[in-house]
Subunit: 231 residues, 2 copies
């Protein structure tokens, strides 16, 4: 059953956006009375397609929701890599993504930030639907590391750090309700940038001996977190 | 420093293939005497580019090599997803990849297997160079699950399994020298296929509550293994 997110409820039905209707009618070729899932305010409803509405059939009891929030701090990446990170991070349960400028990001700001954010949000929404999530990750505006909310366990991937492995740090600190993970661009964070992270309370960690591409690192981190927090 | 693999040594230099020379001369625009890394029989050499040869400057002492072998059993996937899996799995240290037919793989065999294998091998070679590995993962011919070497810990990702989590199984079985991981295609393995895996000694495991795309699963598994086997 296909899942869609809605922000607007009218009496006993939900309003979906044009992209969703295109998907429903043109891509999936659904006719009236086809069942779909609609998520509204983190609750799941089974609905019937009717004309231009998703009419509520029944509400579904909330499954248990993961307690620890995952926050990913990523440098601006070339668009293809950014899409990849947004999609995979959404699949792996990221709650918040904070893009930052870094010295070695080789990304030209060739368009308005608002346009970028719209596209990024669409990628996360679609990935959240496919992964059957009850929420869409929040993408912040492009930020400065000094200005972000640093509540929770904070780690930053470091190429210099040798003794503090990700494993050691996670084993000793998993009793928290928010984990913020900072990753660097291709070529890594500069020493100065890493220092700023450390001043903000981030613990530099080593990821082991594999040399990963930039876009693989968030997937690695979120996989490991899901695993560690598994029953 | 760029890394290349070579199979042929002649006196004090290595022969590289045409693709590598194209990369060296046209893409990287290296001139004679530029230093490159060449891996030959799992050993690393610093070499100088000279005409059509990589002339040995010095051999580098082997770094410590991971002991546990990672084997990935994957269904035939659409080419783009297969490339993704091969590239990421190589970055994350896979040693052997065994492609298998499954009922729900929606892949047409529209070309000779040999041609596929050539392309797949090229992807793994390039990823191994970029990840600075000392070996290239071995890709088997398309196999039947009944015919593979099943020495070691064997797990198969199951959508039905609820109680046996990946974590439980890994924690109790990591003392092995080879781990074989089976994953299903989109839509999952059929009951019958899962049964064949189980008859071969594979332990069905659950990966938790996230719904991942097919190509994300191998990345997740290898990330977790690297993490668990980290010092």
């Amino acid at each position: 059953v296909q899942r869609y997110f809605s922000n607007i409820k009218e009496k006993n039905s939900f309003i979906l956006n044009d992209d969703d209707w295109y998907h429903i009618r043109k891509v999936m070729r659904m006719t009236d009375d086809t069942l779909i899932e609609v998520v509204y305010k983190n609750n799941l409803y089974i609905c019937k397609v009717k004309d231009k509405f998703a009419v509520i059939d029944k509400m579904v009891e909330n499954e248990n929701i993961k307690k620890v929030k995952y926050v990913l701090v990523v440098p601006l990446l070339p668009e293809q890599k950014m899409s990849f990170v947004l999609q995979k991070a959404t699949e792996l349960g990221v709650d918040e993504i904070i893009p930052i400028f870094t010295e070695r990001s080789k990304v030209k700001i060739d368009e308005k930030e608002d346009k970028k954010l719209l596209r990024w949000n669409r990628i996360c929404k679609e990935a959240a639907e496919q992964a059957k999530r009850l929420d869409i990750p929040k993408i912040s505006r492009i930020s400065n590391i000094k200005d972000i909310n640093t509540n929770g366990l904070k780690i930053v991937c470091s190429t210099k750090e040798k003794s503090n492995s990700l494993k050691k740090v996670l084993k000793n600190n998993l009793n928290c309700d928010r984990i913020i993970m900072g990753v660097g661009p291709e070529g890594g964070l500069t020493d100065k940038e890493e220092q700023v992270f450390i001043e903000q309370g981030f613990i530099p960690v080593s990821l082991g001996s594999n040399i990963m591409r930039v876009e693989t690192v968030p997937v690695y981190l979120l996989s490991v977190l899901n695993y560690e927090l598994m029953e």
